[in-house]
Symmetry: C2
Subunit: 630 residues, 2 copies
């Protein structure tokens, strides 16, 4: 039997293939990943490859389009004259008649590199849990009266090697109708090669997923195109559980002490997520039902409340959660209004307050694949720390309090329009410049928008500038010796004026008080001392890099964070602000199932350190309250 040499580029895979085989068969035999939705029926047009002509072939083998069977009618239709002239063919249609040198374009590869849309979208191979399969079925007849499901599952077994498939009960209910409205030609979405979660009439080559990050204060959602891995629309919203308690401890108390409190907390967050979903799909002209899978991350308390799991034991020593391991739950069981058969993959949690959000940060940053000693600081309503590298990883949770989010600060507010977000103080005149959220650019001393308060990054800026200007001392107390009309000493505690009454929408001065400085000291002391305890455990004096995660990390000034000593010193250019890495981890888990396995592994491998139980912690914490000498 005649065989021909076939080489696939760019992988370089090659082998001698039997004459008359299709290119698709050759690719399968040689382990070349080729996209095919229709399973090789010349319907989806996905498996296009280009023939390299002999003269152009760098391999020196005689190749060319005459070494393939002539284009079929379906190829002319699906590829068009132009593409065929350029040497493109459908791998399922063209059969091998001689040696060939073939190129597989990016778009035809089943596993593709994703081009990041912004700096925070990592490029990883696309490997979602959902697989689309196009099938054409023989309609039932008296000679072949098989049931609809038997007909479909046997075809999926034969054409796609999917054996022992299940079908979601809700999808089963509409199966008869979908098969017939598609005239027995349907696209089936299969989850983990295990369960049919969607049946759509005709050939459908798009599917969509949703990555959710449930923060204590902020909900973030990323609607993703599962054929590119790209974020199509992103959204954020306030977590409405805030009304029942600002921090996790008070929410746990609410859930415990109020009849139906847990149900209430669950319901409001799911409702807010449903609103967000409606907005996201609306933005890009989709329907909520188009979302076929969801991934979710969040800290342990948010994780339990979202899953309607009793959270009371999370707040008590020894902080045992109901479960650590990842879960897959039907969206309908959670009340999440996407496709009702969609599975919701909830990432695993580590321990105590170190939750699935931190796991998500880890799979986004992958410190376990690096030699560098990294300190990852995820600042949200809680501060979460990870320290380590490929040898060992420690994690800890710090009670930073909500100061970094602008709460428990006299004029504190969220980073909404009117919030002072950047502050500069002239060290000589002690005059103040600031920028308000909503201004296009830093406008110097005359803001275009009147200030309403100070948000988290503004308070960091203000305190750092006050320290550099000598208004406060390294121990945090005000320097009563300086002379400035902005220093107010007449009240119950000293204050420094950031916005004058005429610059303020409140009609009065906006100040930073001694109490505000103490709140910043407590928050930064918790972070700094937590990092020091972890460093001591690993026996290191310095970290190679600091990764600031959380949207807060995106807005703060790295120099000022170092000025205040939010974390142990590191060269400023080695401090990276990566934005919502937890949300990014959720997106990565959505588009690549290997990341889910990685998450489950790292959740077990990372060592959780309960800071409050470390003997050195109280002393470190006391020392960390002081600011570094300017």
């Amino acid at each position: 039997m005649t065989r021909h040499l076939v080489v696939f580029q760019p992988s370089g895979k090659r082998g001698r293939i039997r004459r008359g085989s299709s290119i698709l068969e050759a690719a399968r035999g040689l382990g070349v990943d080729l996209e095919t939705i229709c399973g090789g029926r010349q319907t989806c047009g996905k498996c296009r490859v280009r023939v390299e002509e002999g003269s152009r072939s760098a391999l020196g083998i005689s190749s060319g389009r005459r070494h393939l069977s002539p284009p079929t009618e379906r190829e002319w239709e699906l590829l068009g004259e132009m593409a065929i002239a350029q040497g493109y063919r459908l791998a399922c249609a063209a059969t091998i008649q001689g040696d060939l040198h073939l190129f597989v374009p990016e778009g035809s590869r089943a596993v593709r590199q994703v081009v990041p849309k912004t700096t925070i979208q990592r490029a990883i191979p696309l490997k979602p849990a959902l697989r689309r399969c196009y099938v054409e079925l023989p309609p039932p007849s008296l000679e072949d009266p098989r049931g609809d499901w038997e007909r479909l599952s046997q075809e999926l077994g034969r054409n796609f090697g999917l054996a022992g498939l299940d079908i979601d009960y809700q999808v089963l209910g509409r199966l008869a109708q979908e098969l017939r409205s598609g005239d027995w030609k349907v696209t089936v979405t299969v989850w983990h090669d295990r369960e049919v979660v969607k049946v759509e009439p005709g050939l459908v080559d798009k599917s969509y997923g949703l990555a959710l990050d449930i923060g204590t204060t902020t909900l973030a959602g990323y609607l993703c195109d599962l054929s590119s891995g790209q974020v199509m629309a992103a959204g954020a919203a306030l977590n409405p559980q805030v009304s029942y308690g600002e921090d996790v401890v008070s929410r746990i108390a609410y859930a415990m002490e109020t009849p139906q409190g847990l149900d209430r907390l669950h319901d409001v967050v799911v409702e807010a997520l449903n609103d967000m979903v409606r907005n996201l799909v609306g933005e890009v002209g989709l329907a909520a039902e188009d979302i076929s899978e969801v991934t979710v991350v969040g800290n342990t308390a948010m994780h339990h409340l979202f899953l309607r799991l009793d959270p009371r034991h999370l707040g008590r020593i020894p902080f045992a959660p109901t479960l650590h391991r990842p879960l897959d739950i039907k969206a309908r069981d959670l009340g999440l209004r996407v496709h009702p058969a969609a599975n919701v993959h909830v990432l695993p949690i580590e321990a105590g307050f170190v939750g699935a959000d931190n796991v998500a940060v880890l799979i986004a940053e992958e410190p376990y694949n690096q030699e560098e000693m990294a300190l990852i600081v995820d600042i949200g309503t809680n501060g979460e720390l990870v320290l380590g590298n490929r040898q060992r990883l420690l994690s800890a949770s710090c009670a930073t309090g909500p100061a970094f989010e602008g709460a428990h600060i006299r004029f504190g507010m969220r980073a909404a329009p009117g919030a002072i977000e950047k502050v500069s103080i002239d060290p000589h005149s002690l005059e103040v410049g600031f920028k308000v959220v909503g201004e296009e650019r830093w406008s110097g001393e005359r803001p275009e928008v009147k200030a309403r308060g100070i948000c988290g990054s503004g308070i960091i800026d203000a305190v750092a500038e006050m320290l550099k200007a000598g208004i406060i001392k390294p121990n945090g107390t005000f320097n009563r010796d300086i002379s400035s009309p902005r220093l107010l000493l007449g009240g119950t505690e000293p204050e420094f004026v950031i916005a004058r009454a005429q610059e303020s929408a409140l009609g009065r001065e906006i100040t930073v008080s001694q109490g505000d400085v103490r709140a910043v000291q407590l928050a930064k002391g918790a972070l700094y001392s937590g990092a020091r305890v972890l460093m001591a455990k690993l026996g290191i004096q310095r970290v190679d890099k600091v990764v600031l995660a959380g949207s807060f990390g995106l807005s703060i000034d790295r120099e000022k964070a170092l000025t205040l000593g939010l974390f142990p010193y590191c060269e400023p250019e080695r401090v990276h602000c990566v934005g919502n890495a937890a949300g990014e981890g959720a997106r990565l888990a959505l588009i690549n199932v290997d990341k889910r396995r990685e998450a489950a592994e790292v959740a077990r491998w990372v060592e959780y350190v309960e800071l409050t139980l470390e003997p050195s912690f109280p002393e470190e914490f006391a020392a960390a309250m002081a600011f570094p000498a300017p």
Copy 2:
């Protein structure tokens, strides 16, 4: 290493066992099924065995209690002095010190013979899908802060060999609470060694299941004790879908043509089942939540409507159902109010109108294990036939119409109080005696209860007696030559008076009309000709036995059924009335998972014959309309 001969009775299993092993270990090694809920922790007290003393031993080996370690304190507690004096021991506690002859009492066998409560409960080994496991867990501590689920699943893995377990999402939500309220000692119910469906505090050694038969007209439910397999309470109710159509064809039409029609039909039947469940559990002092698994049978249309599957294609050639294979669905997904995590196992269907009810009849009757050629006739609103033996089985569905249920009969009614259910006619005087439902015994000519109508078995009786008395001829027409005041010839059609006006609660005569006789002829013709077609296909002239299933079968008189020719002739003593065999099949599938496999196999193996497409059917049907000559 010293080994001793150990023999277990009544199985006779024996082997040489290492000295110091427990009896439980010996039993496991030798494949002796011994009940244990606690997994050998001397807690449940289930694994009791009796030592046979040497002198009594029929095996002639030296046996005796001195060949075992002395009873432990837990054994004294759990067994009591009396039982220990009689030679009883806990297999998990007693270790082997010499040769032993042991007897395993019925109550200690994991697989037990069920003693049937009534003639229609078959005795089969008990092998439910649910397994109870009692575990004692170490409470969480700072040194062991594992999540609740990790703690539980690891213990189940270690003690019961259950690896890779899942937990139902609803059960997970209550896990933290159940573990703590049981002080970390809980009984876990595991479904198919795969999924945790219940966690209860303390040691619980009972579990309950429900077998449901969803008939076109009648719903039947059997509440079973899964530790004995026995029916604890049985109930029946009218299928409320009757209001939307008496037969399956009109219900399919309703589901197709009415907006939300399918949902309505689904909802009403589930609601009626929920009512029935409430009554059943109430009768025996249980709660609906105590039901941990459910099995369901029903004809193809009832199957689809119960599952909320679009039934429209069932009514059209080629009658393709949405699926054939068995299904397991969460009770909560169906709206069935038992334990919300309970799985509902729906038995497979065959083809067309031959459904899961017929499969259930098959696993109850097991014709595929017999050499005898059996004709099984299941008479409900439809008539279903199975003919065959271990070599081959054919099935068919006959459009009998509802005449056998008393519908479409002038004075027809269901078998409710006041229905005439038995009739005798003196062939000389043509005087009539009858018995009414609600009367204790046949009261001769003076019924104690006044008649309101005639039910299915009454109409069979009446027509058979009219035939024997010559009131009607074998072709079904009335003999106008006889002279009796009961023969009324004045109306639009001849009638024969069964109950005189003074015997009737209606205040007028209750009669059997020419139209009624025709309805019986049509129904019996459909059954008889169907059986004949199947017999011709198998090339047989006679059947060895006839099995009448369905509650109708229980109430009719076999001799009269033969008189009318409801089915081809068979010696009267070889006609067996087995009652609701479909319900019994559902019970068998509930208490033994092997029966579920058997059902799936037989559903594929049995050959469905579409009678209306058989060339010989019209002729057979026409011939079968006539009654046998008396």
